[in-house]
Symmetry: C2
Subunit: 237 residues, 2 copies
């Protein structure tokens, strides 16, 4: 058998979690490496692709083994294969990683597995990760922020129904900046992807806010002809 780079699948798992003040922030799941190279450093969850396993199934398995959760949204990000991904390692141990990124609902993430070796980190406060994983996270963040603008991606963080304030909170957490509520409402209304359900949030308030939902006839963009074959997780819902 000739020498060839090994193949792995890794997954960037995003969710929203409240910080100490209750403000929602973008977080991602990392695992501590228990083997060389980069032993003791944090890394994206991943591992070898099974010979009988589809790429997206391997990414879902990463996610499940790491957090005990199913993805609300899953998409292939990029294949990373630079020769210098693991400085100091033998070229014979070279690994090419096909990376997926996933969204997990903030309600579910609150109940995700955490341990000494699995933890959530704020996406904008990461230290040096193993391998080229900082570069991978940067690219995943860039893709997430770009797609949020023109798709119903925020749905991955929310339930089926949500208030405009909850939707704005998702945008603010992902984009990392505050948005003017009036402008946000006008943007959402002009966009047309979100429709009022006619219901209102249950609670004790005098005038509870309206509940909205995404218009399911509007597709997620950028899936092209692959949509049916690669977005199984999303379709199962």
């Amino acid at each position: 058998m000739s020498e060839a780079p090994a193949l792995a699948v890794s997954t960037v798992i995003f969710t929203l979690r409240p910080d100490s003040t209750g403000c929602m922030k973008l977080a991602l799941a990392l695992v501590k490496r228990i083997r060389k190279p980069f032993q003791g450093q944090w890394a994206l969850p991943g591992g070898p692709l099974g010979v009988n396993e589809d790429l997206s199934d391997a990414a879902s398995r990463n996610l499940f083994e790491t957090t005990g959760l199913q993805p609300r949204y899953l998409e292939q990000l990029y294949a990373f294969g630079s020769l210098d991904r693991s400085p100091g390692s033998n070229i014979k141990d070279r690994v090419v990683s096909i990376v997926y990124w996933a969204l997990v609902g903030s309600d579910e993430a609150a109940e995700a597995i955490e341990s000494e070796n699995v933890s959530w980190f704020w996406a904008d406060e990461l230290d040096k990760l193993a391998f080229d994983h900082n570069l991978i996270v940067d690219y995943a963040l860039w893709r997430l922020r770009n797609k949020l603008e023109y798709s119903r991606l925020a749905h991955g963080f929310l339930g089926e129904r949500f208030t405009l304030a909850q939707l704005r909170e998702v945008y603010e957490a992902v984009l990392g900046r505050e948005l003017d509520p009036g402008n946000f409402r006008r943007m959402v209304e002009a966009n047309g992807a979100v429709v009022a359900t006619g219901e209102r949030l249950e609670g004790t308030r005098h005038r509870p806010p309206q509940l909205y939902r995404y218009d399911s006839s509007i597709d997620l963009t950028d899936q092209g002809p692959l949509r049916n074959s690669t977005n199984k997780q999303e379709k199962k819902k």
Copy 2:
């Protein structure tokens, strides 16, 4: 050594070529398979990734070995790894393909290598290709058509300087439909990515058309933080 899927790199190579009436049309380079599976069928050029080879270098090598040319533009498209990519083959022979797409200038493509086993095909008139390569081509076409709208991608098919008619010809070939010259000129002027050089096409005409160039300060989009590390071919120019 445990069983694991093999890794290959393939490349969709696009160019523009004149049809029998002289009209420019979008074409891609295919190679005839000389081995099973799919022996005798046409397929995208590709092969195993060298252990010392970057992914994009392998894609450039595919392109060079197939056509004798260098890419004007090269970008990773997607990693294809479905279990049913090669029906009838043993799962032990499973291959995951990381696919790139490339643009080759129409002037250069006219001098590209052609042989019994390497040929150009019209992108919109393909028969059944080997493996899942029709799906891959469909996705590459979708990506190309999407990117053309908002980037200086047409540059990959043109020289440094071009007339608006030449630029429109690229758009028409890629999008597969005629565009109104007046509307096209207004779209280009409003977009701002193309600037007049002040020069005119040399020739014998009474009023030769103006030459334009892309504003190089405007980046190709959708490269994200990977731009510097993955777009070497483009940067070398």
